[in-house]
Structure formats: C-alpha cells, structure tokens
Symmetry: C2
Subunit: 219 residues, 2 copies
C-alpha cells in the first residue's frame, strides 16, 4: 500500500467519525423539534423525486419538507415547489453524496417551523451515500424495475442499510425481463427485515402501504 493510500484511509476515518458525531447531534435536534428525517437513496433516474411527490401528497395534512441534494441543477427542487411542496436545494458541486455538515448548513437557511416529515433526497448514487449519516431517522432506498433485478448483489451495503426498499416503475414490468424472485432473494441475502413496497409513481399504485408504514415509524 502506498503512503498516500494510508494517508487517505486515515483522513477518511477521521471524516467518517466527525461526520457520525455531527449526524447524531443533528438527529437529536430534529427529534426534539418533532421532525422525522428520511434519507432517500437510489440510483440516478429511479424516480426518487416523483415518489416524493406522491408521498408528500399522501401524507397530508401532515407537514412534509424536502431537501434536494444534487451535484448541480435545481430541476427537482423546482418540480417539487411547483407542486406546492416546501423544498430546498443543496448543491454538492461535484460531491458524490450529502454529509452531516452540508445538512447542518442547509438547516441554518431552510426553516422547519412545524413538526412533520423531512425527506432528504441524496445524490443519485448507490455507493457513496450509503456511508454517510446525515441526521436521518431512517434510510429509504428507491429502486426501479428498469434498473434490473441484480442490484442487491452489486450494491449490497446500501440494501443492507435501508429501513425500507421501494421498487418503483412497476407499471413498466410487462415490458421488462425483471426477475422479482432474484431481486428479493438478493435483498434478503443482506437485509432480512426491511419491508419491500412495490409502487408506480406514475399511476400512484402501491403507495398506501408505504404511507401506513411511514406513519407507524414516525409514531
């Protein structure tokens, strides 16, 4: 191993530790405010934003806030705001994931005046976001039928850490070779307990069960 590699590992360990500490502090603060924070994870293009449009609408009259984490652009934030959702943008400018310091900074500018839900849409990426706590109460992983059924085998850490898994775009299932048994076997190989919700953000199908689960989790 090169000296630089050792250097990198040491620096990264420090960063993980510091991030974890800040994330736990933020989580305590959010809990005290009556905010239930959900770290929304998934590949690019699995429909995280369109799922959040359904979820925030169906949770009404409960209050929902959304923070959108993107490398660049504010496309998703504008989409949510146009639909009446109270949404705020974090740009990472090249960064491949959100972290606790970014969240703390964002919450200095984005007020959460009422108790409710805070959905934080992370950067579209199945790798790096799995490793950074951002103050959340739980991680929600949004997959899609169009990505193929092998994802739990290829990106096990993010499936392991998910409190629930959403399988989106089930309306497209008739046009795909998605092997549901293989997908579920892979999921259960790394995560025995996370419920799986099959939904279509396009038609609204399947969201009832997810909403019921959210309400029970928030309590």
């Amino acid at each position: 191993m090169m000296a630089k590699e050792i250097n990198k590992i040491e620096v990264m360990e420090d960063i993980y530790e510091e991030n974890g500490r800040l994330a736990r502090e933020l989580n305590t603060r959010l809990s005290a405010q009556g905010i239930f924070a959900v770290n929304v994870l998934g590949s690019p293009g699995t429909g995280k934003t369109s799922a959040l449009l359904q979820i925030t609408k169906m949770l009404l009259p409960a209050v929902s806030y959304v923070i959108e984490g993107d490398i660049e652009s504010n496309i998703d934030t504008v989409t949510l705001q146009k639909a009446g959702v109270d949404a705020f943008q974090i740009n990472t400018y090249g960064g491949c994931h959100l972290d606790a310091p970014m969240m703390i900074k964002a919450l200095e500018k984005f007020a959460l005046p009422k108790p409710g839900y805070l959905f934080i849409e992370n950067v579209g990426n199945l790798v790096c976001p799995a490793e950074f706590e951002i103050g959340e109460h739980l991680k929600l992983l949004i997959c899609s039928t169009t990505e193929g059924s092998d994802k739990p085998y290829k990106y096990p850490l993010i499936f392991e850490k998910a409190a629930a898994v959403v399988l989106n775009k089930i309306d497209l299932m008739p046009h795909l070779d998605f092997d549901k048994k293989f997908f579920i076997d892979g999921l259960r190989g790394v995560n025995k307990s996370a419920p799986l919700f099959e939904v279509s953000s396009k038609t609204g199908e399947g969201f009832d069960a997810l909403i019921t689960w959210f309400k029970a989790k928030k309590g």
Copy 2:
C-alpha cells in the same frame, strides 16, 4: 473550512495527480501493444454489460477483452464469459470507481496477448468514475431512456468527458415520457462534439453506427 477538510483536499489532489501519471503510463503501454482501451461509464442498470455483449460480438473478428469493475459480485463477468467473451473481474470492495493502480494490478493477472479492444466497465455511478483516468483512450457513456431525460443537467461532468454517448433501451421509448429534445439540449450544453448513438441492447437496433465509429476511432 475544517482542518480535516483541508487535509482531505490535499490528500485527494495528491491522489488525482499520482493516478493521472499512472494512467498516462498505462495508456502508452496499451497503445504500444495495439490495445484500444475504452472506459465504459453509466448509472447502475443502464445496460452497460448487455451493450458490451452486442459490441464485442459486432466487432468480430477483431479481438475484444472486457474488464468488469464491480463493488462486489461477478454477475456481469460470468454473463460475458458464458457468451464467449474474454472477461476479467476487478472488485473494488466498496470503492465507488476504478483507478489506474487497480487497472495496473488487474493487467498483471489478465493477459491481453493480441491487439484489439479493451472495454473496461466501470462501477455503475455517474459521479466518481468521471474523475479518475484508468489508462483509457476514450470514455463511452451509456445512458438509458428509463433514467429520464434530465441526466446531462444533473451529472454534467461525466457528459462533458464522454467521447460518445449511447442512449440505450430505445425499445422502451413508447412506454416512457422521455423528452429527447431536452436530453440532447442538455448534452450539447456541456459537450458539443460527442456523437449520440440511440440503441437497444435487447433488439440490437442502432449498434451499426456505433461499431463504425469505434473502428474509425481505433484506426
């Protein structure tokens, strides 16, 4: 900025520089062997492996080698090998991208006895792989219609660095709300010159033009 952040930036700059140097050396060595190396990039589930099945078949009788970069699992390597493709696995064990040292190590074990093409399928990720050269002659970005048309706006760096962009899964277009004009406008906003190839790995449609382009690039 925290001291640790400064530390991280310095270490990362060293790593980029060292990686760049190793990548350029590897590229020179591959050129001397008559190997044309292609860094294949894309989100999870855009069909990188199925596109490579088509490409390597259509390039015959030219020799093609494939290196599969995955966090874990060897699903894609096995798929390629079963189809008769000379394929080799690199596991990053959590790492979000390939780098030049990983490639150099892999090529100590994976022989490339004849001149031809070397396709290196990077980890499925639109962020981190854009920042690391791995000895390639060019980057090929594989997108899919099912990811949505906003990707060039959200992940501009990887679109900027692509020598060519493949839009896969065009067979699903009738079932989607994919806005092709918006996609192309976004691509051209960051990359004026990369050709766009619309293909279906499922039906084989559209690969002829890509193959002609590859042959011209390799020369």
